[in-house]
Symmetry: C2
Subunit: 338 residues, 2 copies
């Protein structure tokens, strides 16, 4: 049996392009005892993958050259020689960019096809949704009436953070990079205020206006000068969840700038970095809540689905052009049963 | 009745001196209904007071010019017109530098003279001890076998932090500014390692040697380059208690330097600023533990006591010359009963 796969051919300098990827075919053997044969249905493309394409150290290790890119995949079990799975199961996990794949089952979770569309398990009910839920609720711990600021607000994580904060009774302010995105946040998702940082001369002043009672929770996807502006408005006992620091992902030496420590001291603030896997023991609760909110119409979820395995690099590159709305995915195949 | 008092006469630039203080006498009236007449027994002098003498904003408001300095005082109730106190009670609180004082009783706590020497309530059982206990245990949360690093280790707070961390079964590394202090920490207080940062060319290398398993808890009294060196050794899920940032107390603009946020993200670390009053609801438990450890000989406590109210400025200024060992206090008067 043959599988198509997409390798990292070279490490990008600055913006990646098609030349960094290589499509090839390979003969697949197995499954052997304990293994599964998987067919990819949906594959996720996410901004954090850009970091893994460089060999700079980050919170996840870099991709290896000439090996398949890996990431979130929803797949169907075509054949099982593993007691925990049977043919026809749908699973989700961190898997290689391959149309077919042999797995030992480790790190996979079963997906209930009746809960939500299968693709949602790569977004709202997958890594971005769980990241938003766990970072906001377990670090940010927002209380009704508090002000929550989200940077990178129009992304797959930020859109969920803001909506959950609204469900918790907070005033929610989103920071993003275009007027269309701000319109989407405030008019479609119910954010109270949005700031287009690219169209604002003085982001601190814009934030002061949007946060008349200061900032109690800051969910940070970006770092840099946007964060510095938020820091100046932190209230006593504010909580800061550090989810991403995209401002520094391409830095070649340790980044310098405003020291946050004296601010944390003065205001008794908590700051915590995290990666979603830190909260693996909470995923059950988180998924239950996210599904309920989705079914009750309390959470909106947007996705852009590109068709065809070969289009993975193009879909990934599109993330950096800001053409997609909400979560960007690639559909590889239909499930066998339906 | 007359009281002596010491006012802030002028704000120091750089190192304070005697000319910043003014001693005067004043007529005292009262106590009226609900008030107490207090006689100061011991008055605390602490490094943080330097910050309050400037008008730069910090985590505590600046002292007012031509008003008495305030700080930790142990005092005896000479006369009470307040139901909660009777003549002969000993109390502790944040009080003005005055030999006699009228108080409405707010913010005072009663001191049990049988628990420990009265002066201990300004150190081990007072603000510095409670700061060490609450910051280390409620933020640092040290586990047996973990490595705890303390900066400003030979001070009234740092000495207690290190000893409690040892009681919790940790490897303890103290950073201080003289070989005598390092000897005191390692030979008298049981610290595993000490680093004299003034005698070390490469503090990062010295720390790597002292912390072969990395750093799990960092109790920070200083900030600046010492902290940067510690950050490079943080383990996954490390906790950092920001207690003081003396490196920046005299800064005239927001301090810049290494960004800690990407490090917190990469290692899923928690950083929390605090002031001891944040943990007021824990003081009961904390004092109970500190007293038990003291009685069982598990905690050592050193103090330097200067005699005479008039010598308060001199004792305070001595803190910055590093002449005292352990907690520096001034004894103002003997208790009436004994």
């Amino acid at each position: 049996m043959k599988t198509k796969r997409i390798l990292l051919k070279s490490r990008p300098k600055g913006m990646p392009d098609e030349s960094n990827f290589q499509l090839e075919e390979q003969e697949l053997k197995g499954p052997e005892n304990g293994e599964l044969l998987l067919k990819a249905l949906y594959i996720s493309v996410d901004p954090y993958m850009r970091g893994r394409m460089s060999d700079a150290k980050s919170y996840v290790p870099p991709y290896e050259l000439y090996k398949p890119i890996t990431g979130g995949v929803v797949a169907e079990v075509l054949e099982s020689r593993n007691d925990k799975y049977t043919t026809g199961d749908v699973v989700m996990g961190n898997l290689p960019w391959e149309t077919y794949n042999i797995s030992n089952g480790k790190g996979l979770t079963k997906v209930d096809p009746d809960v939500a569309p299968l693709s949602y398990h790569l977004g709202l009910l997958g890594m971005p949704g769980l990241t938003a839920y766990c970072g906001l609720l377990y670090i940010g711990d927002p209380k009704p009436g508090e002000t929550v600021v989200v940077s990178g607000a129009a992304g797959a994580v930020g859109t969920v953070v803001g909506q959950i904060a609204k469900l918790k009774g907070c005033r929610v302010v989103g920071i993003a990079g275009s007027d269309d995105k701000i319109d989407f946040l405030t008019k479609e998702l119910g954010f109270d205020e949005g700031i287009n940082y690219k169209a604002t001369d003085n982001i601190k002043e814009a934030l002061e206006h949007a946060c008349p009672d200061g900032v109690d929770v800051y969910f940070d996807n970006v770092g840099g000068p946007i964060s510095d502006a938020v820091y100046s408005l932190l209230n006593k006992f504010a909580r800061i969840a550090i989810c991403g620091q995209i401002a520094y992902y391409n830095a070649t030496s340790p980044p310098t700038g405003l020291r946050v420590e004296p601010i944390l001291l003065k205001k008794s603030c908590l700051m915590k970095g995290f990666i979603v896997s830190d909260y693996a023991d909470k995923f059950g609760d988180a998924a239950k809540d996210l599904v309920s909110w989705l079914r009750e119409g309390k959470l909106q979820y947007e996705e852009t689905i590109t068709d065809g395995f070969e289009n993975l690099p193009e879909a990934f590159l599109g993330l950096f052009k800001g053409e997609n709305t909400g979560k960007q995915l690639v559909k590889v195949a239909e499930p066998s049963k339906k």
